[in-house]
Structures are given as structure tokens and as C-alpha cells.
Symmetry: C3
Subunit: 184 residues, 3 copies
């Protein structure tokens, strides 16, 4: 059997932004987003935009959120980012309007090629279409599209695309119900 | 299909306590409970009680615990609250005596009505009866009663009541065994 | 039915190190490992070794890692410890070479005997053989051996040994595939 050798890992091809920008953002993330002593939403959105994030009107960002690279992040209007949400966007993460990421949700756009001894880095975008809801501590892995108004329930793991208005549960998440929305 | 519209969200009916008290507690929680530089159990219990929590004798609270609203929290005697436990008690959380919440456990008393375009807030109490054990990183959602001495295993999600002395696993958690306790 | 009584809990037999050492390490862990303002890998490895950890060449330790007792920790060469990884090593944790613990992974070497009214502490070692990969937010419980190059997928829970080159998913994790590694 061939063994993995992480000393042969090489991600030189991956250029997520200048090292100065990434270092600066690392500390801005720690001080303004992760830091629970800053509960001020406006200030968080300001620093995210300063680093290139596109963020719509009416977005709410709760305490202790972490974003890997703001310049790879788009968030539509009236979307909520809950407490302890972790947007680990090595690749582009697009979040639509009227979405909700509940507390502790994790978007995981990086992975490793476990079939290579060099354990190569793999990055793929994640898309949450309008009205999608990622439940508390649920996890969306790389390449997944949560279609319009789909729901991933508490602690579930989305490993493939979720159909529009579908409700998914489990690890891996499977469809359990349709979401039907009434006017009022 | 009807779309959700989070700008129409309205939780004016929800009155969890005066805004001054909530703001004050937010920072007390950060400084005395979440802050790992305060490992002093007595001090944590003191500030929780100051804000209205009812806490029995012999309770242990480990580092980095978070409590949403102490005035909606009751904990019986000799109960242990483990490291990184998150009591997100938008509604009343009653924890009995001799209970254990292991590290990273999450009690989730809030939810949203995903069938309404306004994504209304839903809150319901959570009850842990005497001797209940919430395993590491396990999650109890709103409305659930963990009956006497029931167990929710590591990383499982309780979405419905757990029977007395039942052991539950998975997402959603299902009963896998009975708990039989011997005298010594 | 017999009830549990946590006031009768007694772990006097458990001697994980002098109380001075444990207290000191508690604060070193908070200041040098958990603290996101210290992203310096060399400094983390230095303090871990100072407290008795055995750590090979080329090891990477990301921010916000937590280690319970460094003197009960061994890590082989070229192994990666991801962001927010929690090594709760009440008993010895041996991690081989070329392993990866992805972000939020949890090694849980402590447990409680839920069949005793005194809820006795149970500790057992955990072993990760060379090339093993613990996925993001996956959990390995006490006594488990992850055999050579086994994989535990995102958010899964390993409750029993994992076979060499086996890929496991779910809670409890079950084998879903073989891992076949190619040279390049």
C-alpha cells in the first residue's frame, strides 16, 4: 500500500491573495469578527467590505463569526450570519438574499485529495441561493449548491447539491421533506 | 413558489428582559463565563445568580461556557456543565440534579418558522430531568424533555423527548439501549 | 430504578500530573495555543515540548487548538493539527506521522461510567496511526485506534477501531469505501 507523505504537499499553485493582505486580515478577523467584545454589526461589515467582501443591505452578523478571505465572499440583502458561524472560504462563497446561517454553521470550501500521497489541496466554491437556511452546527462542504430556499437541519452535513425547497437531514444529509412557505 | 423575506421578520412580541439587562449580561457572559482566564467556578455561579439564575449546591461550571439569559436558567444540585457548553436559552431551560452536559453540548431553545415568509422566531423551553446526560457536542433542540436519566450520545441531536433511562444516538437521535444503573 | 448521584463521584485514583503543573499548563494553553493572537507555530511547539509533549519535525499547529495535557501527547513528523482542534487527552494520545486533524476535530479520551450511580471517570488512550485523517469536526472517542491511513469524514464519530485505508462516515461511523493512494 502506498503511504501518504505530507512533506511532499505543495500548494504553490494556490494564490488566495497577497501574504500581507492575508496577514492583516487574519488579525482584523480576530479583533473585529471573532472577538466577542465587538458586537457592533456595522463595524464588522465595514471591515469586511474594506477587505473586498460584497455585502447587501440589512445583513446581520452575530458575535464570534470567522471569515477566511473576505475578498472571496458575497452576501445578499437581509441575510443573517449567526453566532460562531465559520465561513472557511478558501474558494468563493456566494450567499444569496434572505438566507440564514444559524449558530455554529460551517462552510467548508477546502478539502484534500486523499488519493494522492501528497494530500493535495482542493478548493471549490460554495453557493447558497436565496432563502437557503443552514441550521445550527450544520456543515456545507466544497462544491455544494444549496438551491433556492433549501434547508439543512441542525448538525447535518451537505455533501451534494440540495434541491430547491428541499429539507435535508443527517450525515450525509438526505431529503426528508418539502418546504412549503405561506404568505403569512 | 413563495419566497422568504427576512426584512419582514418581526419579533416585537418576544420580551426576554430589559435591553439594559441583556446588554450588561452579554458582557458579563463574555468576561466571566466565556473567558478562559476565569476558571473560578464560584465567581461564575455568583454572576449567574446575580442575573437571576437558580443554581443548586455542588454545581460545576467548566471554562468557556456560554449562557444566553441567566434569568431563564435553573440548574439542580450536583450538576456539571462541561467546557464549551452553550446554553442558548431564549426560553426557559430547566436542568435537574445530577445531570451532566459534556464538553461542547448545545441546548437550542430557539428556532424559526420556515413555513412563513417572515421566518418567525419560535421559542420553546427545554427540560433535562434528574440524572440526564448530554454527551460531548450533542444538541438538544427546543421543546425537548430529556426524561430522568436519559442519555444523548456524543454529537447526537435530540429532536423529540427522550424516555427515562433510554440511550439515544444519531441525527435525529433514536433509542439504542436501556441505561441500567447499579448501586456501586 | 437506581438514580445517579454525582456527589458520590470520586476520581482520586486519577493522577494526571501535579496540580501546579496542570494549573500552569491551563494558562499556557489559553495564552499560547487557544489565543488566536499567537499564530506562531514554533512558539506553540516550544511550549508543548516544555510541558513534555513529543513532537516530530515538520508538524503544523493552526490557531485556537486546545490540548489538555501535553505530557500525554505524542505527534509524529509532518502531521497537521488544524484550526480549533481539541485534543482532550485525559489519557495518552499518540498521533503518527503524516496525519491530518482537520478544523474542529475532537479527540475525546475521557468518558463516564453511566452504569454506576457515582458516574465514575473512565479514561483510555487514543491512537492515530500514520497517515490517518480526522475530518473537520469529526470526533474520535476513547479507546479507538485509527489504523494506518484510515479516514473519518466530516462530522463523523468513531466509536470503534477503523481499519487500515478504510473511509468511515456517520454517527456511529461505518465503513463506506476503501482509500487507494496513488504515487502522484
Amino acid at each position: 500500500m502506498i503511504k501518504s507523505d505530507l512533506s511532499s504537499f505543495n500548494n504553490d499553485w494556490y494564490r488566495p491573495g497577497s501574504s500581507v493582505k492575508r496577514l492583516l486580515w487574519y488579525f482584523f478577523n480576530v479583533l473585529f469578527l471573532l472577538n466577542p467584545l465587538n458586537p457592533f454589526v456595522g463595524l464588522k461589515i465595514f471591515v469586511l467590505k474594506m477587505f473586498g467582501a460584497k455585502i447587501g443591505e440589512g445583513v446581520i452578523i452575530k458575535p464570534k463569526v470567522s471569515v477566511k478571505y473576505p475578498w472571496k465572499l458575497e452576501i445578499g440583502a437581509n441575510t443573517w450570519i449567526g453566532e460562531n458561524v465559520w465561513i472557511d472560504n478558501l474558494d468563493v462563497v456566494k450567499i444569496g438574499s434572505n438566507c440564514c446561517l444559524s449558530q455554529g454553521a460551517l462552510l467548508l470550501s477546502g478539502n484534500h485529495n486523499y488519493k494522492k500521497k501528497s494530500f493535495d489541496l482542493l478548493v471549490r466554491p460554495i453557493t447558497l441561493e436565496d432563502g437557503a437556511w443552514v441550521g445550527a452546527r450544520a456543515i456545507v462542504v466544497q462544491g455544494v449548491v444549496m438551491k433556492s430556499h433549501s434547508i439543512l437541519t441542525v448538525n447535518s452535513v451537505a455533501t451534494a447539491n440540495l434541491e430547491p425547497y428541499g429539507i435535508y437531514q443527517g450525515n450525509p444529509a438526505v431529503k426528508i421533506r418539502e418546504r412549503i412557505i405561506s404568505e403569512s
